[in-house]
């Protein structure tokens, strides 16, 4: 009885072993395939990155060209202006052209004189003590700021009032 049982058990074990061995073999193959797939998708991604980088530099160049061309035109015209004995009219048109270009590119100047200082769109370069107007008000524009669409292209550089009494506190 016992011997029979052990043989049975042995047989069962060998069978189990064979099954397990097969399973291990299959899993090994599956793992190898998965590993290969993983490496390939990693390589694909790296190749994709390289391509995107190339494309980005290309596009950057294209963009640059667009703005450089505008500057070249501007330069040509300004040279004419400088030779002009009565350049006022020409300059007026030139400035108009630039402003139209800004409009086309959705660049808008930030109006700031007399407004309350706003750290989102203004950059205070210094303050001036005053007692004749409100505190924290822009009294001078040092450099004009611009918005591009709804984002800030560059903040207005401004001088802001400071009420005299306040400083003493």
């Amino acid at each position: 009885m016992t011997t029979k049982k052990t043989t049975e058990k042995k047989n069962e074990n060998t069978e189990k072993n064979i099954n397990l061995k097969n399973e291990i073999k299959q899993l090994k193959i599956a793992l190898k395939e998965k590993n290969d797939k993983l490496l390939r998708s990693m390589a694909d991604f790296q190749n994709y990155q390289k391509r995107i980088e190339k494309e980005l530099t290309c596009r950057e160049q294209e963009n640059k060209k667009k703005y450089l061309e505008e500057i070249i035109d501007l330069h040509e015209l300004l040279k004419k202006v400088s030779d002009d004995k009565n350049p006022k009219e020409g300059l007026k048109l030139l400035i108009n052209n630039i402003e139209n270009f800004f409009k086309k590119e959705q660049i808008k100047p930030i109006n700031c004189l007399g407004e309350k200082f706003n750290h989102n769109i203004h950059y205070a370069i210094t303050t001036l003590e005053r007692n004749d107007c409100e505190d924290n008000t822009i009294i001078e524009e040092v450099k004009k700021g611009y918005m591009l669409n709804d984002k800030i292209l560059r903040p207005s550089h401004v001088i802001v009032t400071k009420k005299v009494e306040k400083k003493k506190i």
């Binding site: 290969d36 490496l39 990155q49 750290h119 210094t126």
Partner: protein, 626 residues
Amino acid sequence: MGKIIGIDLGTTNSEVAVMEAGKPTIIKSAEGQNYFPSVVAFTKDGEILVGESAKRQAVTNPEGTVHRIKRKMGSGEKVKALGKSYSPEQISAFILQKIKKDAEEFLGEKITEAVITVPAYFNDNQRQATKDAGKIAGLKVKRIINEPTAASLAYGLDKEGEHKIAVYDFGGGTFDITLMEVGEGVFEVLSTNGDTQLGGSDMDQALVDYFAEIFKKQYDFDLRKDPKSLQRLIEASENAKIELSSTMQTDINLPYISVINNEPKHFETKLTRAKFEEIISKFVDKTEKPCKQALKDAKLSPEEIDHIVLVGGTTRIPLVKNKVEEIFGKTPKRDVDPMECVAIGAAIQAGVLSGEIEKDIVLLDVTPLTLSIETLGGVATHLIDRNTTVPTKKSKIFSTAADSQISVEINVLQGERPMAADNKSLGRFHLDGILPAPRGIPQIEVTFDIDVDGILNVNAKDLGTGKEQSIRITGSTKLSDQEINKMKKEAEEHEEDDIKRKEKVEIRNNGDALAHSAQKTLDELKDKFSDEDKEAIQNALKELRSALSGDDVDKIKEKTDSLTQVLQKASTAIYQKAAQQHQQTQGNQQSNSDEEAWSGHPGDDDKTINADYKVNKDEDKKDKKK
């Protein structure tokens, strides 16, 4: 697991980076800048501002704005802002919070962990304070590492065995020198020294003073007293400094800089690099003493230093680089952006901690040279371009070059030259058993597959019959640098000739293809052409064929063009005739005449008939031309 970011928490500016797909990437602030000003402000309206917006309002709100909090870290000293007091940890936490928020926005995922850098001379208190600041900001600080260590990591200096490194950090407001020893990836600080009151901003100021003095001599007016003029002078000085890092001289032109006695005044001057260096040399010289002291403290002579790493924007100035060379007698490393290398090193450390950098797996090989096959006329047609990361697989469809061709030869090539004969042949094989068909009809798919070990499998399959043949080439990626450089150099040297030769082959191929299709058109439509046109085509065809049998490429081109013209004329006549017939017969035979005219278009007949799969082939052609 989430990403861990690396933060360079600086005195004036902070930077942050993260590992993305094995590469460190600098994270931009919401304002679109590569850095975050380390400024925190409390406004009267109860708002807390951090970074760029805090900086913009700083002069309007000096009582509420906190700068340079790093200097107070770990001191236990509180700072007052608008009547309230804050610990330095709290202030730093505001900066870290802003960085965390912008990094989350940039990466599109939640960030909870970070590596933060501190100066090598920071004591335990200061390090703990930095950790606490992270905690307050909601960041688990996985590790605090020294700034010079981070900079060295950015240069991969942890992998080069045992050696000694000097990190020369010259920023906007401070100068630090750190000597370290690295072995088995462990960095040990040997000595540090520096000057907390020395930086690039001193140079800017000196330059502004220099320009202002020139103007003053001319007009007896101090531009520094007018904030408007001063602002422009500061900007011009910064630009001049940057410009003179690459050029020997720069022009400073500031039109309408000021109005004196109701008259607009302009500022015009030139600044040579020599003069610039004279102005800044006293600041650069001041870095020498701390370096010497550090060497003395570490008991090292300059020759014992193996690598010098430059950190900070000021090290971009050539004079500074020269000074470093003079002190240490060696050329410093500078291929990583000196402003970003600390944050990049922190990100690399973070990548190691998060398990993103497992050295063996991420390093995938690239193909050192282009792999191609030889096509009609001895042209090398690219399958896998140089510098492609492997493993990779690319396929292209090719066809036969002659009618009833039953076998194609696949010649696998390596190299950058456009003609097959100039490249190295890695192996060749034949694919037989192609069914006899007109040229261009059979479709043979050629696949190049490079596995992770660099073994190249080339397979050619006749899509019509399903027959295939392949070859296995080992070592296609394992070329010596010498071999690669030689082949690249050859390609560069021969570039012009090669292009000409390829053009010649293309002209010949075009002529050949036209002759073939003209013959076909002639056979198919012999009843449609007028005798006159038929004869013209036959003559032109004959001339083209005789040109093709010779070597004169210009003649081939000329004859190809004239045959094209004759064909166009003849086909136009057919269309006109068809149109006339169409008008005469009207409605009934409409479809019939349409069809005839359609197939009678000589130049493109191949394409229209076989539109379905020729499209594919056309795309291939485009690829080839690139």
